[in-house]
Amino acid sequence: MTGLARTGRKSGITMPIYNRTVAAITLRAALGRKRALLFAVPPLILVGVSALLRLSHPADPAWPARILGDFGFSVVLPLTALIIGTSVLGAEIEDGTIVHLLATPVPRRTIILTKFVIATVATMVFAAVPELVAGLIATGGTTRLAVGLFVGALFGAVIYNALFVCLSVATTRALALGLFYVLLWEGVLANFVAGARILSVGHYALALASAVVRDPALKPGVNLATAVVMGAIVTVLALAVAVRKLASFSLRGDAA
């Protein structure tokens, strides 16, 4: 078994949490396809719009927080995470190639964590880094806003991907359910119902960004402590469910 390993203190049993072969296959499957070009579209729009606004409204202080906070955190970050998070494992489940991976002794937790790490890093590259670049362009330098949004997006990438990896192994309609969550729950419900924000990953990310930026225009729906605690709970819970579901992965037979 290759990759990083963590050793259990009591038993001395090696519990690998990351497998390089699983990672390599996942990377080639997710990023080697033309679909990967899709990942680049939302961040390009974000950076492009920021550059255009910077040119047209260089002196207006209000728009960077609104564009990068609203468009960046409600559209670019969740949709990028949704596409990547549901495909790192979901695509293999859909086309049946997951059986090759599962017919090996690699612990199911290692498979889930490796896929999660790949999806999170890819989301950071395609959503958090563009958020930083757009922030730098919008504010004209390494400002508190640019850094804060970047940190918030990194945090959001982690939680969103745990959630979407979990969805992809728990249901065959991960993309539809993910879209429902992002567009209806976070996009509509969380805007009108304060209680819905406690279960909004976008608001957790905004809360963290806001703690760094201290800009009232970001308007997070939860405070920092709630965001961190809830973010941790959602991430751990989603990954635990994903491991459990993958361990019980079943193939349907002929008489179904």
Partner: protein, 303 residues
């Protein structure tokens, strides 16, 4: 020596019973799971391979349950019926990746050996997406064999293979069986199973319909009652002559010809030509009326 033990194993999907109370022991050598489509062969193989939980009963491989037991894959190689492989990898990359996932000490050497076994050295550096169906099947077999498993499970392994590839695969599985490995494969084609396996397990409608040596099963299949449709120069006279024969149970005169129920396939086949010649009746057509595999299997269930 690793054996597969099933004790009253059943599996159902909702209200549909796919595998119904099967008890068997599969030991070293080649075992063929024979049955029509939908008989429950895949369900059974998936349960043995740890990809489906038995709804009832106990299933162990080498003494351990296979469900939720990934460590068992060190001893098992499995090839599912659904033809899927990472198309973006080359054959060699695919097998080598599997060797690494299996924890082989020298993945490159293990991959070379397995690829050699399935005769895929030539195209191994091409992407799997460019392979024919038979080649994809063989590279999957190489991946399943890369860690030298004690047990190999194959669901319809000959699907999509041309006759040469089929013979090669049969030869390979035969050799693996002779080495003392437990090879279990499913097929709905009697001839495939007959050529390859010493032991046959016949499944029909989720049940184990017959079990044992292929010769006994073949005899059971050919000595069952058969229905033939015969057209001749004089159906009435031929019918009268046929009913006097011990191999014939009944004769019916129909507009399409004579419908003959024979009690013994072999005896009737040998008899009819001689009888027609002796009676001076010209035989125009002799058609088995119920030769579908389903009817053969249905007979086995009721016998």
């Amino acid at each position: 020596m690793t054996s597969v033990e099933l004790d009253s194993v059943s599996h159902w999907y909702g209200n549909v019973v796919a595998v119904n109370d099967i008890t068997m022991t599969i030991g070293p050598g080649v075992t063929g799971l024979l049955g029509p489509n939908g008989a429950g062969k895949s369900t059974l193989l998936h349960m043995i391979g740890g990809f489906l939980e038995p709804s009832r009963g106990r299933l162990t491989v080498g003494g351990s349950p296979s469900w939720r037991n990934p460590d068992l894959y060190r001893q098992i190689g499995i090839i599912t019926e659904r033809e899927s492989a990472y198309g973006f990898l080359t054959g060699a990359e695919f097998v080598q990746a599997t060797a690494r996932l299996q924890g082989c000490p020298d993945p490159a050497a293990a991959a070379r050996r397995a690829i050699g076994l399935v005769d895929m050295v030539g195209p191994m550096n091409r992407r799997i997406s460019t392979y024919s169906k038979g080649m994809r099947q063989r590279i999957r077999v190489a991946a399943a064999l890369v860690h030298d498993p004690e047990i190999l499970l194959l669901d319809e392994p000959f699907n999509g293979m041309d006759p040469r590839q089929r013979l090669h695969m049969m030869d390979l599985l035969g050799r693996l069986g002779e080495q003392g490995r437990t090879i279990v494969f499913s097929s709905h084609i009697l001839e495939e199973v007959e050529q390859l396996s010493g032991t046959i397990q016949v499944m029909v409608a989720g049940r184990l319909a017959a079990s044992g040596d292929f010769r006994a099963i073949r005899r059971l299949m050919t000595s069952r009652p058969h229905v033939f449709v015969v057209r001749s120069g004089d159906d009435r006279r031929l019918g009268a002559a046929l009913i006097g024969r011990p191999a014939v149970n009944g004769v019916e005169l129909t507009p399409k010809g004579l419908q003959v129920r024979a009690s013994d396939y072999g005896a009737f086949s040998a008899d009819i030509a001689r009888l027609a010649r002796d009676e001076g009746i010209r035989l125009r057509e002799l058609l088995p009326a119920d030769e579908s595999l389903e009817s053969v299997f249905a007979y086995l269930v009721t016998s």
